[in-house]
């Protein structure tokens, strides 16, 4: 068993332990405080406005393959979709979800269904609201453009794995004067979104979306575990550098 495997297993076990620990009720007696991210405040306003104005919320889950290592952003997008759909079941126009991958399209339908079931509005659930925009990255963009233009969408949430071509969508959304909160685990996409999106989330802020939307205790615990692991990783890097410099490694 290589040292990399041991280190990897250690990180996984520590991560599991931290999430379980921060999920304990006694650890949540006082609500954890996270740094303010203005984009989330505007997102809440956008959701409220969409519900009030009877416009639509659009969540796009990206093109990430569920079996690729970059699928975690899509999983966060699914959690966000369920949360947002639950918040906006009262809206005249239900939330719509698009994705650039078949597996994500099916999961988006499941998440929407779960949201409507939790809100006791299963009869309002429409599978067509979770659809595949296009099976390839560019066809996904081309399939999203009609949604941005013609579906009375006032708020777009782009959460997932995108390519730089997502800039076409954010530019179109800007022309439609609709609110756009975008985040991706793809760095080129992040750079493009920083330049074109109304409210971009940088880097791992994507993974904190459920916690900032008060989706549940487990998500707060996840973010707190992420912060602890950050320090563990930083310490490991410094120790590793010193050991490397000393010649131990």
């Amino acid at each position: 068993m290589s040292i990399e495997s041991i280190a990897g297993l250690f990180i996984v076990v520590v991560g599991l332990g931290l999430i379980a620990f921060f999920s304990l009720p006694r650890m949540n007696k006082t609500k954890p405080v996270f740094r303010p991210i203005p984009a989330f405040q505007r997102l809440r306003r956008g959701i409220g406005l969409a519900v009030e104005q009877g416009t639509r919320l659009h969540i796009s889950l990206g093109k990430g393959d569920l079996l690729s290592s970059n699928n975690s952003s899509a999983l966060v997008g699914l959690t966000t979709l369920e949360r947002i759909a639950r918040l906006s079941t009262a809206s005249d126009r239900p939330t719509i979800a698009t994705s650039g991958n078949g597996s994500l399209a099916i999961l988006s339908q499941d998440s929407l269904h779960a949201a409507y079931r939790i809100a006791n509005a299963t009869e309002q659930y429409d599978p067509d609201r979770g659809r595949l925009a296009g099976p390839t990255p560019f066809s996904y963009i081309a399939g999203m453009l009609p949604v941005v233009r013609n579906e009375h969408v006032s708020t777009h949430l782009l959460i997932g794995n995108f390519g730089p071509e997502i800039g076409i969508v954010t530019d179109e959304a800007g022309q439609q004067s609709s609110f756009t909160l975008a985040s991706s685990d793809s760095l080129p996409a992040q750079a493009v979104l920083y330049a074109t999106a109304q409210e971009p989330l940088i880097g791992e802020e994507l993974y904190a979306i459920p916690a900032y939307l008060q989706a549940g205790t487990i998500y707060n615990a996840s973010v707190r575990a992420q912060d602890v692991l950050r320090w563990v990783l930083a310490g490991a890097i410094l120790v590793g550098a010193i050991l490397k410099l000393v010649g131990v490694l």
């Binding site: 330049a195 074109t196 996840s222």
Partner: protein
């Protein structure tokens, strides 16, 4: 708990594959290989199911009484033409090949070309959306790397200092990129662990 059987399946499959990552046991590795191979087949079927669902959505759009989407018919026709040609002639046939190279490539490449204009236009108006020194640094960095990327600097060989400087500048993005990648990895780790703990169940529709 919603859908306990499905949750158990997800946790069992996930933990088994994860164990195969770190524990070098022959049986674990073989099981993990099989499970992933099946997952690949499932993903292919999921893509097919999602495409059929996409066609059903557009078929309903065509028949929609209130807001019929006339363009959807072209989507369905294009799908049928490509699908039939591909199934009948095979993906290696010249017709299917031309469909991709002579239709898909021009469209996608043109979209990429449109992206160039969209990005340039968006960058012009960047300071309307972004304020502060980070935005300024972002623009400066963009301009600098555009110039470097263009290969316009032809006098580098004559100026040794410039060569060193360019080498150092090329190193700058690496630091930020590594930090972002590490952070994303941490987020991906906790997200995956939530599913393995059964806390996130996007499949329990």
């Amino acid at each position: 708990m919603r859908n306990p059987v499905a949750t158990a399946i997800a946790i069992a499959v996930g933990l088994t594959i994860l164990a195969g990552y770190f524990i070098p046991l022959g049986i674990l590795t073989n099981v993990r290989t099989y499970l992933l191979d099946w997952a690949i087949g499932l993903a292919g079927m999921a893509s097919l199911v999602a495409i059929i669902n996409l066609l059903m959505v557009h078929a309903r759009k065509v028949r929609d009484q209130r807001e019929p989407d006339r363009y959807s018919i072209f989507l369905i026709l294009a799908f049928l033409a490509t699908f039939i040609a591909g199934i009948v002639l095979g993906p290696a046939s010249s017709v299917f090949h031309n469909i991709i190279t002579s239709i898909q490539i021009p469209i996608e490449a043109s979209l990429m070309a449109v992206l160039a204009i969209s990005l340039t236009y968006a960058s012009l108006r960047l300071f309307k959306r972004r304020k502060g020194w980070m935005a300024v640094l972002f623009v400066v960095s963009t301009v600098v790397f555009l110039i470097i990327g263009s290969g316009f600097l032809t006098f580098g060989s004559q100026v040794p200092l410039l060569r060193e400087l360019l080498g150092a500048i090329n190193m700058l993005p690496i630091a930020g990129a590594r930090g972002i990648l590490l952070g994303i990895a941490l987020g991906g780790l906790t997200t995956g662990l939530r599913i393995l703990l059964g806390a996130d169940r996007p499949y329990s529709g």
